[in-house]
Homo-oligomer: 420 residues x 2
């Protein structure tokens, strides 16, 4: 590329970075998906990652879809749900296609409540499901009666109370919560204990007033306080609302989304809007719960890598020596190395999201596909590990690398587009 | 001392350390001081630090006592309160004399609610007031109508609700909360945001059930969620319950308490039980709120240095680069130096309270007066800074050093006692 080209790309990237850093995501509402996304019709199912196309679904994704079809009442049992899929009677779309994100299988159907994050600087919104908690959950492909009952309870009990509580607020400033949580050891992918706790503190005064006489207040409080990862989905929606503000800038080579459907890893870049560049996903490496090993693991899956696109997760590993241990990466020195390596492929440092163990440096933000391709350094992603068989659930946590080929394709497409 | 003496002192210190590390402090109750401490009679006032003796009280302590006498109804107004003091009609005792601790002025009178921490390993209990929050508060010597009303509200509204909530629990395991909070950037003296948040998460499910229909649930929730330093008093009681388990061991030269009354700094050591060794307090050095300077500062005051005796606060500064900034000490490298210096005068490393920024090393615990005297290195203490005039309140935060002379006296007394 000519130096003129380079400087205009750099300027476009700078503009994208400024929009990322100026973004102010607020948690403002919880509402049923069909109210927020009228395009979600009958038999519509959203899933994590790029479009599946004709690719075979992985086990957990298939299991989660079977559950979702029953949860919606579109199928009376698993056999009926299988028939619907086999008869091609369902419409599968990526969550990202409607500005939503979901962890692991990422399933969203019309009745599910979604959290609404508003980017107050630019007016755009992003959506994410409520975190189901640990154990048997749809996001890991579980679909038995207990899973479906819990989804009903989230819809009928938790969501209306959270909606009422949030309506009493002016919205909760997520950038502030995320900045504080980074100072408290969260990287906001595998560790959200601080962010979850801070969110609960912000929410409880409103929740107890919004539902003071509710017989359900106790169990809703159990739900909120009992799950350290509650904030993961919030962080994902905040990252989505932020990164969406940086899409569609001509000449921008920064990554605006990374997502995995269990088969393919997909990347989007600023200049090319909603177009995906995909390559087969990798296997995560990490630590397994007792009784499980790498042989049981599903390939990498989930929209959660949107937090890495913003500079959190593995990019912010320096904030979380305890996560570095948890994902098998070990200790502060090692944790710093992840962050330092990601500095090689990013063009900015957040002025808001600061790393206490790196003398207050901002998290590395703005993955430039040019740098990825030039250096061969690909993004690290912190991730939960699902069993490859539907219904088993989480079996570990680790790190995974994005496949280089997505970035190569994105850069080639960018160059083609630029030449035209 | 002979080598035989040295080895038996070392053995005694080791025994004390083991008792400190085996201690399991649980928050179990909130009850009025007069129920817990029947020895607190009419006109009894507990204060922070060692006994005042004939020393002149500092401004904030005097102001706080004036307020407390009115809060108890022993004096109708400030003039009447002054008369009571001048006529020597009040009984002043250190909080420590009844196994209690209070931050800053540390005032406790019979009607005040106290948190009860039980050391489940040894069965002993320790007590601390509820944190009043920021702004005008008795612990900084403020005593106007708003201060007294808030104390009444804590007594009548907050305390019964917390008592009812705690009765629904099996007690809250404070060692677990403190260990987690250290991994989240708290040193539990000047920074308690994580520990407070974790305690709230543990308490809220019980609070909403204990007082589900209470019209006060909203304001109690505001109180708990609105004060990052709520946990300070809890940490103090946990430290007191822990260090008390290590007192009275013949031959033990470890510090079991450090406390300041605004005039004198006092130290206790294991072998000599409840005896205090005192020297004039120092002035804290730190950062001041806008409009205030070192000239406005009161000398060092409060029982809160009990957390340093356990290895928290300045001893755990490595956990809190943000506190190092807040108290004027600056950055991770500087924060580590405080902790590393305190390693010079301590004989143990906690197996439970670990420092993520020092590769998981335990906090330095067990201050050996021999080492303090040999090296001349005195304990650092993180502290809030009170205005020297009663009623103004907190004007900053910083670090302060314990006066060497306390430790010299303690070691001399120990040697005298040992020779006998």
């Amino acid at each position: 590329m000519s130096s003129g080209t380079k400087s205009s790309i750099d300027a476009a990237n700078q503009q994208a970075l400024e929009r990322i850093f100026a973004s102010r995501p607020f948690l403002v509402d919880v509402r049923p998906a069909h109210e927020l996304l009228p395009q979600l019709g009958d038999h519509s199912v959203l899933h994590a990652g790029p479009p599946l196309g004709s690719k075979t679904m992985c086990g957990p994704l298939y299991g989660a879809i079977l559950g979702a079809l029953q949860y919606e009442g579109w199928a009376a049992d698993e056999a009926a749900a299988q028939s619907l899929i086999e008869a091609d009677k369902i419409t599968l779309l990526p969550c990202h296609s409607v500005r939503a994100v979901g962890p692991m299988t990422g399933i969203i159907t019309p009745s599910m409540p979604l959290m609404v994050v508003e980017n107050r600087e630019y007016g755009n919104h992003a959506y994410a499901t409520l975190n189901e908690g640990l154990g048997k959950v749809l996001r890991f492909g579980a679909n038995d009666e207990s899973v479906l009952q819990r989804l009903q309870w989230l819809q009928q009990v938790v969501a209306p109370a959270l909606q009422a509580a949030l309506q009493r607020t002016d919205g909760l400033d997520l950038r502030v919560i995320m900045a504080k949580a980074l100072l408290m050891g969260d990287e906001m992918h595998q560790r959200n204990v601080a962010a979850t706790s801070l969110l609960i503190r912000a929410l409880m005064p409103h929740l107890v007033r919004a539902a003071p006489a509710s017989e359900y207040l106790g169990e809703i409080t159990d739900y909120l306080t009992g799950n350290d990862q509650f904030f993961l989905n919030v962080a994902m929606a905040a990252a989505k609302a932020t990164m969406d503000a940086a899409t569609g800038i001509p000449g921008c080579t920064l990554v605006t989304a990374m997502a995995r459907n269990g088969t393919d890893f997909g990347v989007r870049i600023g200049a090319l809007g909603e177009r995906w560049f995909t390559a087969p996903v990798q296997m995560p490496k990490g630590l397994y719960f007792p009784g499980f090993s790498a042989q049981d693991a599903n390939p990498d899956i989930g929209d959660s890598a949107i937090v890495e696109a913003l500079g959190l997760g593995a990019f912010a590993m320096a904030a979380s020596p305890t996560v570095a241990n948890f994902v098998g990466a070990g200790g502060l020195a090692q944790a710093r190395r992840y962050t330092e390596e990601m500095m090689e492929i990013t063009v900015g440092r957040s002025p808001h999201l600061l790393l206490p163990t790196l003398e207050g440096m901002g998290v590395p933000t703005g993955i430039d596909v040019r740098r990825v391709v030039e250096t061969g350094i690909v993004p690290w992603i912190n991730t939960g590990i699902a069993h490859r068989r539907a219904g088993v659930g989480q079996i570990g946590a680790g790190v995974v690398q994005a496949p280089l080929d997505c970035f190569v394709q994105a850069l080639e497409a960018f160059a083609d587009d630029w030449d035209r």
